[in-house]
Every structure is written in C-alpha cells, then in structure tokens.
Symmetry: none
Subunit: 214 residues, 4 copies
C-alpha cells in the first residue's frame, strides 16, 4: 500500500481531458450503465500487447465487449482443481453470469509471447524452461501447437504459431462444460481471428480453408 | 477448431470502417510499431468489465499501454510453483522484458467480481465456495481485503472492498522479487486507482490519505 | 434547441466508417437517389423494437422500402378529423404520393407493446388505462384483437395477440378509401407477416390457413 | 384479413438468403435478444424516406437502437388528451420503459414531407390545407418552423425548413414531462442531426453555431 505513488502528470491530464469531453458528452449513457449493469454482446480474449486494442479495431464503446487480455490470448484447458485460474474465471463469468453470445479470440502478428514459446520449444530459450519462469509456464499451453508447425520453413513458423495460439484456445474453450453446452444449444458461437499490426488486416479461421481475410 | 464460426456481420463492417479511417490515417505509425516492436510506457491492470475501457479514460493510443484485464483487476501473490499463472506471466513480461516505468491497477464501481467476493465471504453465495467455481477461487485472492471491510456499514462495504482489491493487488505485486527490485531501484512506480462508472470520477490511493480524487 | 448536445463519439466514428466504405462504394447511387427522388417498391410498417430491423431481414438497400415504425406496428382506423395522425399520414403519402405496390405489416415475437396491451386488457396493468398513458391509448387500437384471443390458454395468448396486431392493422388499412381503391384496382397488395426474433423464422397470413411459414 | 396476399417472390428469396447467412452467423445473439429482452442505448426518430436508413449510417445492429420512423421525423407537442398519439407513445416507451440514454432526431435533404409543408405554408398546395389531408395535418407540427425561414431566399428555404423540423421536434420533446425530467437528471441527452443524401454528409446542431458538419 505504502508503495502506491501519485499518478504521472500526463495521465492526470488525459483523464481530465476525457472527463471534459467524452464523459461529458456521454454522461447519460455512463449513468445508465452504472445503474442498470452491463449487457455485453461478446467476450473478447486478446493479448496484452500495447499495439492491439480491440476497442479500436471494432470501434468498441463502453458496455459492448467483456474483454480479457493476457499474454498471447491463451485459454488453458478446463482444470477445476481449486487453484487460481484467472482466464477460466473470466470465461466462466462471461458465459454463465453475463450470457454473452460470442467469444472472439484475437491473435496478432509480432507477438512476443508466441515468439518466446517458439524459442523455448526449439531450444533457443532455456531460461523459459525454468520452473520459476511465469512466461515459460504460461506458454506451455501452446506447446501442442508448436508440434504442428515445427516442420514449416523458419520464416513461416512464428506466424503459424500465432495462429495456432488462437486455435489452441478455441479448442481449450470447448473443454469447459459450460462453454460446450452453450455452443451446442446454439446460444454461443466461437470466433478465431488473427490481425497483422502493420498491414491493418484481419483474418478469420474458416473450417476447411484455414485463416482467410475478413 | 471446427467450432470456429464466421465473424458476425456487424463486426466485419466495423473492422472495414476502422481500416478505411483510423488505420488509413495512421498507417505509418502502425507500420513502425510492427517493425520496431512495442515500447509501452506503462502496464495497466484493469477489469474485464465492458464498462471500463482504460483506452478511453486515458486516451490510449496503440503502443502506449501494455494492458492485462482480468476479473476484478487482481494480482495473486508470488507463487513460482511451475503451474500456469496468467497474471503473473503478464507482470513478469511487462517488468523484465518490456521494462515499463509504471504499473497502474485500476479498480471500479459496480464490480460484479468484487460483489461476488463480498457475498461469498459473508455467507450469501455458497456456490462460490465450491472447488469447481473458477470465479470463487479467483476471488479468494481478495479474502484478506474482506477482513478489513467486514465491520463497515453495509452500504459502504462493497465499494470499500473494490478499493481493497486494488490495494491487495499492489501489495501482492511487491511480493514479486523483480517488481520489488525495480521499485527499489526507482525504475518502476506503482499506482492504485478506482473509478466510478456513473460519475466519471477517478480516485488515487495516497499514503496517509486513502483514496482521493485525481 | 439549446438542449441539443454533441453526438456521442461512438456514433461519430461509425458515421465516418460508413462514409469511408459503404457511402464511398455507392456514391453514384446515393447521388442519383438525391437527384431523381425515391421510387420505393413497398411500404413496410413495423415495430420500433431494436431487435427487428426489416432492413436486415429483407436486405433492404437505400431507396427500396418506405418504412414507418411505431409501437407494435399498428395502423389506426381511418379517422379524418383534422387531428394529427402520423401513421395515417405515412400511409397516405406512400399510397397517394409514391404509389407503392405493396404494404407489408410486420409483427414480431416478444413485443413489449402487445404484452402491455394484453396486461391492460386482462386487468393486470391499470396504469395503462389512464388517460395520460400514451402507450395505453395507442394500444387501444388492438383491443378488438384481445377479444378474439382472450379465451386461449395463457401461454398462447400473447403470441396470438401479436398476430392479431398485424391483422387488425391490415383490416384498418382497408378502411382508408385510397387504400381500398388501390387494392381493388389491383395496383396495391397488402401482406401480413410475423417474425420470431430468436428463431429467425417468418410467417405470413394466408387466407384459410392462418399464419404459415414463408 | 382476407385481403392479405402472399409475399412477393423477391422478398421471400431475400428472407431465405438472410436466414442462411446473417441469421445463421448470429443465431446465438438473436436467441439471447429473444430470451433476455432489448436494452437499446438510443432512440432514433427519423423519416420514413426509403433513402435514409439510420441502421446503415450508424452501422446499427439488432438490439442497439429503438427506431421510430414517421413523415419528416416530427414529434408533436405533449398533449395527453386520451387520443391516439403514436409518436408520443414511442417516446414514452423509450424513455420510461427502456430508459434510453440518447434520443437522436435525424432529418435529411430532399424530404418530401417538408417540401409539402413549405408548399402548403406558402400557398402553393391548397389541397394540403384540407381537413381530410393526413399529411397536411401532420405537417402542421412544422408550421412554427416555417415562420422562421419564410424570409430566406427561395433556394435556401426548404433545406432550412428540414433543419427546423429537427429543432421543432427537439423543442417539442422537452414539453414531455418525463423527457424534461430525464434530461435534467442528466440520464438522457437529445441530439439534432441532418444528413445530405447525395453527399453522404452529416451535420449536428451545436448551440451558438447552428448545424455544423460532424
């Protein structure tokens, strides 16, 4: 607690700017959101990466998307062992408490987490194999995906692994009983996306065709 | 994989709208971000809640903030047990790989996760005590905070617990050796914030004064 | 006037997205529509409900449908008393000025207005009986329909009343001399539809068979 | 009833196309909308004109906007006389039952209703003065606006009157006690827009500046 420090000036100024403009223009909407609760249509699982803001790409306004962001947009397999699983808790809340209609998993180019996984699995980053590496252990979720891309030419491998990260997550989502049940009742659909930061392009996984431009 | 479905039309349209405007106007910046990597100044840990977009409050542009979002903006204590810890991985990556200068923990009013924790700890939500409840086990992180607010008048208790969620996270951040070391070297500062959705207000924890308006 | 406020940001962004894509791609058509006037083929009378956009169901492009939307897609009986009748004005303009070939009345499931009428007529919503209730007085148009469904089992009654709303409107349309005359000259046909929001189904009234799937 | 006819083929085909594509891709969302009800953020009052689809301009998806469309996007003054007022009923439902945060009145260029009002008020359309003219009596709502534009040069007058139609409606909205009260509590804001069909432009009324491009 005693380690908390005052906010840097640039953030204080930006907050006051937001409050005098966007908030002032939308006050009635924020009040209603506050009083009536959220009814988001979709959950988005994307990366922490500072270059990928789904709120921008999809013009997301307050109240629309329930957003979980972690390293490399990964969902671990269902594992109700009584331990702390932040991603699984977010998925459970979105599906069972909020009843979202869509879960969108959004991967991206130049993903540092996926690159680390690639280097770890190919023997180039032994420090990520250590028990104490949180990033290494988190990226273990993607190891099955590495097996599927390891024989590709080197220049294609990391991008392919970024897309595998999305598909592994979609596959793991289906191991959650409440996700599977909602998908089977046709009240929930899953969507697998990958965006190229520099090109501003978006691809979606289409069964039988792989990732194709939207 | 075979469960991935085409993106709903409204998101396809919004993406194309973004690409034709925001992306087109900022193409050179996106290209540079893609080629030179990210150099975010701060990490933000906030809630998945659809009503709290830090990208809006702080006018965040692509490349500025490394953002982790989970239920109730919680950071668990340091626990290098070789298991998967998504939040700890995000903090490790931000501090050791990216070298962010700030970690901002942003709590908020009307937080469903915190409300669940309150109900669980006060005996009103026994289902959250079950081993299989991911939300319940995740909110266990906040139990020490409940002890500090449980004797407050009922109408103040949930808000107080929302602010405790921020302080518990700040406290837990300091249990990570690489965080503590960076704070002590004065290359990293921690910031504890809470926002009221309906009022558009922002409070920051100030040692000796508690939470005060920014 | 002085109460008009700036448009919320999200709508500004969406407008610019539309202008850069849909408008840019169809500029010649919009220009022609602007210069040559509208020649819509059909009038649609549907509900204000946010879940029923006839423009979506029928893939309506600009220029195709003259659309009037009110609570519960109702048409009042012909009543040329010199007072303001917005629905009657819309019908008059469509038939006498634009010469539409079809009038489609589209009802729907889960209609709040029809539910209110049901509750009012069955004594459960006395506040809707008050003179000052605009919704109550508007739903008076549907009272004759309630008489025809009131003896049905409770679980069928509201849906039946939604369909009655369409038929009452068709019946009332025929009380307008210019509608009757155009129907008799076979330059105008009337169509009675009902859609189920959750099933995405569409039924049409067929004399002798009632509402049957399209 | 016996006057209802089968739907024209082109609409049957379009419906089936929509059902096989848009509906199939969004089934989970439509189901949820059906089961959980609508929570639209805004009410839009626009014209029946076939060339102005607010669902297009604002990329409106199902569930977002509660839309009332009448001739010339007019709102009459508050008049709780126990008669049928469809527009007043729609406003009452949006504000008191749905609690929308915004009411957007959208006017447009080339408006036939406004042109009729102009011709009627300037003596060029005596048939619209007759008691039996529903369009004429409806356009009476705009007469106060004509007084404010009648001395403008002829080529500016109709466009100015289109914008007056929006402002008259905003002014009349404030005569409804439930609208005024919600505006004063800052849970509702009103927005005055005008769009040029051929240019794809959008202007908003800004106090002190008049209509300026968005």
């Amino acid at each position: 607690m005693h380690n908390a420090r005052p906010l840097p000036n640039y953030l204080v100024q930006r907050f006051h700017g937001w409050r005098a403009t966007t908030f002032a223009d939308n006050k009635s909407w924020y009040r209603r959101l506050s009083e009536s609760g959220q009814h988001p249509r979709a959950m988005v699982i994307s990366c922490c990466d500072s270059r990928v803001h789904v709120t921008s790409i999809f013009g997301a306004d307050e109240g629309e998307f329930f957003i979980h962001r972690n390293i490399a947009n990964l969902v671990p397999p269902y594992s109700p062992d009584g331990k702390q699983h932040g991603t699984s808790a977010a998925v459970e809340y979105a599906v069972t408490a909020l009843g979202v209609a869509h879960i969108v998993v959004l991967g991206h180019s130049n993903c540092g987490g996926v690159k680390g996984c690639h280097d770890m699995c190919s023997g180039k980053a032994p420090q990520l194999e250590e028990t104490s590496s949180f990033v290494g252990r988190w990226m273990d979720i993607l190891r099955p995906g590495y097996e599927r891309v390891k024989d590709l030419p080197e220049e294609e491998r990391v991008t392919a692994l970024e897309k595998e990260a999305v598909l592994v997550s979609i596959g793991n989502l289906m191991t959650f009983p409440f996700v599977r049940e909602a998908v089977e009742r046709e009240v929930l659909t899953l969507h697998a996306l990958w965006t190229h930061i520099g090109e501003g392009s978006l691809e979606q996984y289409t069964p039988g065709q792989g990732f194709v431009p939207v």
